[in-house]
């Protein structure tokens, strides 16, 4: 019986995806005067039932956050959102998760947010135990352009253009699993706060699991950018405008069901005017 399951199941799924955003180059939002750090560490081993719910929504602007739907000239805004939920019942559960949020300026090899989690679940043999878990990380960045001379430390970075053009980028990465047994690890991280435009915006997501059930991992994005700076309409009543020169929509989703021997997927996004 066991052999039969293995034959009909999915033996190996190994997929790596790298996305590099050059055209709609992000200019990170700089930190506010008051910065916050939040760290949570959770470690649970239980025979029975387990639930975990976590969420973060973080919005930040170079100007003022208000009800206005339009940005001022040279204003940049970013919204980051993260959610994770796990429900497991009638089984053996091991759950470990460490999450760090830091709203301060970051450098090129550091992150504003990072979550690392590990989940093991096995249903009791005499009960119909199951586990459902999902995780999502999203980043939405918009800009009406920036003066390059104000935004670079690198003396050569602003020689190509006097402005960093307007852009509007949104992307989401995540995964889910439901089934009766799983051993899972996932890492989600992102960076969008930096003092200068020398530091690119980044998001990374990776998941690795084996188990009995259905696993999915995905990304989706929409990147839009211009070549010229945002401008104030000469006619006075049209507010701030920007012209779009590039539009990219992309998505990918991988799903496996059955006796999953290996499911690995990594996704990496980088966007900036100065990159490796």
């Amino acid at each position: 019986m066991c052999l039969s399951i293995k034959r009909t199941g999915i033996f190996v799924l190994l997929l790596a995806f790298f996305l590099l955003g050059y055209a709609c180059a992000d200019d990170p939002v700089n930190a506010t005067y008051q910065t916050h750090s939040i760290r949570t560490e959770t470690s649970v081993v239980v025979y029975g039932t387990f639930t975990n719910e976590a969420s973060i929504v973080w919005q930040q602007s170079t100007g003022a956050l208000d009800d206005s739907t339009s940005l001022d000239l040279y204003e940049r805004q970013a919204t980051m959102s993260y959610s994770e939920s796990t429900y497991a019942n009638n089984g053996y559960v091991e759950y470990n998760r460490v999450a760090d949020l830091d709203t301060g300026n970051q450098v090129v090899n550091q992150n504003n947010f990072k979550s690392t989690r590990q989940l093991d679940f096995e249903s009791f043999s005499d009960a119909y135990g199951s586990v459902v878990t999902s995780e999502s990380l999203a980043l939405d960045t918009v800009s009406m352009g920036s003066l390059a001379s104000d935004r670079f430390t690198c003396p050569f970075a602003s020689s190509g253009s006097s402005v960093i053009p307007p852009y509007c980028n949104i992307l989401e990465m995540g995964s889910s699993f439901s089934g009766t047994a799983v051993s899972l690890t996932s890492v989600a991280s992102e960076r969008h706060i930096a003092a200068r435009a020398d530091v690119p915006v980044a998001m990374d997501y990776g998941i690795s699991l084996a188990g009995q059930g259905t696993a999915s991992a995905y990304y989706r994005m929409h990147l839009q950018g211009g070549r010229d700076p945002g401008y104030v309409s000469p006619f006075g009543d049209d507010g701030i405008s920007a012209q779009k020169s590039l539009d990219i929509m992309a998505s990918e989703k991988t799903t496996a069901s059955g006796a999953i021997q290996s499911f690995e997927k990594t996704m990496s996004y980088g966007s900036g005017t100065r990159r490796y």
Partner: protein
């Protein structure tokens, strides 16, 4: 005979500030952390701490909470809060619950907030 042992702790911190000309921008932060347990067997340790009266602007405000539990029953811990400033808004929450024979339950929450140089 079943013995119910309810245990709960919560730590709530509300901080507000007002902008003054040429100084510190306005802010309004609130953070709550806590835990609870009900069941028939328990070994539990919690640690709470906060620091919000500082002698320096650059001594950050901090709130910490940890719960270390083993037992038979239901254990819950949580952290939730919002941080609002003129240019930023953050809402945050996490809640973890385990029921049954709890071999290990450890949750630690830390929040720090302060001015940047």
């Amino acid at each position: 005979m079943r013995i119910i042992v309810p245990v709960s702790f919560a730590l709530l911190l509300l901080l507000m500030g007002t902008a003054t000309a040429g100084s510190i921008p306005a802010f309004c932060n609130i953070m709550e952390m806590g835990s609870s347990f009900s069941g028939k067997a328990l070994s539990m340790t919690t640690i709470t701490g906060d620091q919000y009266v500082g002698s320096s602007l650059f001594r950050p405000q901090t709130t910490t909470y940890s719960a270390d539990i083993a037992g038979i029953g239901t254990a819950t811990s949580f952290m939730r809060g919002t941080m609002n400033g003129a240019s930023s808004s953050i809402s945050f929450s996490q809640q973890t619950t385990a029921s049954g024979t709890i071999m290990k339950y450890f949750a630690e929450y830390h929040w720090s907030s302060g001015g940047s140089c």
